[in-house]
């Protein structure tokens, strides 16, 4: 399946992904409602975007008591607004903190891969976010192992 791949070394912290995402998801520019978010590291010298990894075993989906989270055409776990009751269980269940709650709509919201054409990947000027087929859906595990291994080598 195609998922969002993130290369933190390429991120410069310009936050264009948040702008594009918020427009695609809400129809207005409003980074506070973006489902991809950029975090700073190492003081103010490094940045990395993070968003839903579309886990094979979606804990958000398992936790939802009303079955509001379904799999859309792009293979993404997507929240159905007409079913969601805003209980926030998915936001607690998600191990990566990428399921959110919107106090204005009183619904949960999360990355739905924009239905197969993610706006963040198109907007990123440095290709830090790409949309590609990966051998493993849970790529973040591989990424973490690789990263940790590299850090250990330098110890």
């Amino acid at each position: 399946m195609k998922v969002l791949k993130i290369t933190p070394e390429k991120c410069t912290g310009c936050l264009r992904c948040e702008l594009a995402c918020s427009y695609m998801q809400t129809g207005q520019y409003q980074p506070a409602k973006s489902v991809i978010r950029v975090s700073p590291f190492e003081g103010h010298t490094s940045y990395a975007p993070y968003t839903c990894t579309q886990c094979a075993e979606g804990w958000c989906m398992t936790a939802c008591p009303v079955g509001a989270i379904t799999i859309n055409v792009a293979g993404a776990k997507d929240v159905r607004d007409d079913v969601c009751v805003g209980c926030k269980l998915c936001t607690i269940a998600c191990p990566y903190g990428t399921a959110f709650y919107d106090p204005d709509t009183r619904k949960a919201f999360k990355c739905n891969l924009c239905g197969g054409d993610p706006a963040c990947a198109s907007a990123c000027p440095t290709a830090a976010i790409t949309y590609e087929d990966t051998a493993t859906v849970d790529w973040i595990g591989d990424f973490a192992a690789h990263r940790a291994g590299r850090l250990l080598e330098t110890v």
């Binding site: 912290g13 310009c14 207005q28 506070a32 975090s39 003081g43 010298t45 490094s46 000027p125």
Partner: protein
Amino acid sequence: MTTATVRTSANVPKAAKGAAAQPAQPGFAGKLLRVDLTKKRCWAEAWSPAEMQELLGGIGLGAMILYRETKTKSGKGNVSWDHPDNRLILATGPLAGLPVWGTGGLTVVTIGAGTNGPTSTQANGFFGTNLKYCGYDAIVIQGQSKDWVYLYINDDTLELRDARDLAGKDTWETQDTLSGKLGLTGHQLSVYSIGPAGENLCRFAAIQGDYGHVASKNGVGAVMGRKKLKAVAIVKGTKPLAVADPRGLMQAADDIAHALKTDPGSKSLYEYGTLPGVVNLSKLGVLPIKNYTTNVPPADITEWAAPKLREGFDHRGHQCNACGMHHCHMSIIRSGPNKGQTIDEPEYEGWSGAGWTIGATRPDQIADVAWLNTQLDRACLDVNEFGWICGWVMECQEKGYITEQQLGFKLAWGDIKGAHRLMEMISHRKGFGNILAEGVKRAAEKIGGPAKDCAIYFEKGAAPRGHDHRGRWEEMLDVATASTGTMETGNPTFPTEVGQPARINPYDGEQVAHYVAGLRGRKNFEDSLGVCIFTVRCTLELICRALNAATGWNWTWADAVRFGRRTAAINRVVALRGGYTPAIEKPSKRYSSTPVDGPAKGQSIAAQWDKMIDVWYNDVGYDRKTGKPLPETLRGLGLDWLVPEVWGKKA
């Protein structure tokens, strides 16, 4: 932070009366944030879609506020830069916070401490983004606080908070402290502040923000210091921003990005920011070396080529809002006495002001020059004017015009440690530094004699940017005739679009004057949009496409030029009210001297100066004798209402 927190809110009934809840005009947040430091009061003020279309933001909005609000109570003249009634306007624009590259910008507009006249100076980072998502297009500050305060903005929470514990801290320490205290990292918080130089009212103090972005011209930091406002801290707001045509805006933004990446005029800027300037400008005689005493760089200038300037550091991108340029970087120094320190990669003007101008030209000094540039940002001194001051002191000491005893130590060409010591003296007004803190013109006049003849400045009290303008005549004429103390026309960008030639003879005074006058307008338009100067190096047609998509308007390049010229005329009227006359539109003796070597050797701008001024005045439609925009010029710009004030009721 335990005492004297003054809390106000945009939601209090009285304040919110005039403020629109939802922006009616796409592209704009819809409100101005007013702050009175004397009364410790903040309030929101609505502005109408008609005003937005007339003034845009940035310098367009700022110039009109100066015109309306800085007149003295008697009606004669302007309030001076240090008066409580002076306004400090921190303005964004219609493109700020949107996905067009480099749109975190702010324009600072005020009566500046350098010229005591209107000023406009830009910086980027995330100020504009954070402010607009809080719901404001600009901050207008008046009054003076008794104690140090900082302005805290978080959506509708507007507070003037005690900043006595921040006093004495440099700009980076101030941002670190506020980030820690508020528990916000990265771009969740944008902080623009002053360091010791602003606190001590140095005439060329700047306002610095977001680790390395500097609004540096005309002493805006001194204005902030006089108001006892240490910092403005803006939490990234949570409000929505509507645009008229979101898809069209993204397409225009991507087309601008494509142009920046591929056009020969902007490609190197995309790849390396302003770094290539060092080598490229040296080939034109425009790199200032040792206070204009020579234009011949050492043989190894290739060591200062852009890729080499990056090689010596551990680099991390540090872009402004939505920007894809390979321009702003944080660097970590790899070796030497400052090993491990984080610095902001210098702009070209940093390499010239903290390096070449003061004789630090050896390749093994590159890391030291970069370090000094960041120290100047942290102290909040304009790196350009510091370069002219430091280079001047170095030359004067070499020639015996300023003694070691007077200065307190020996300062030779290229001495970075000594330059840093001088910076500390200036920013704390210690010893001889107290004279130098008045800026290069006032210091040179104070010392007088042959020392004065070595100083680089404009008679109006401003200092040039970091070039040798004896090889770039356009900019010397531009700043000399500008009402703001810095460029009003700017560098030629797609000149043929506005009917100007692609190239001119740079040493033909008449051609230069026609060019500077003919290109007027574009820069003021750019500086009103909330964009970075470097991300609009494309055609005006493309910029207007982005503006129109954001706002739903139908601007053309001709509207943009007319807007810019109208703004310049309003600034001119404010300047005239403050006593501005064409008599002060002059460069100093050294600044307009004839280069003795290098590519511009023997080319004398002084010999053609009067003719250039004559041509400029004729072309722009201002009166040569009084400096006033002629009645027909004002009417042509739609400023009929200004005619009686400028020319009397009979005109």
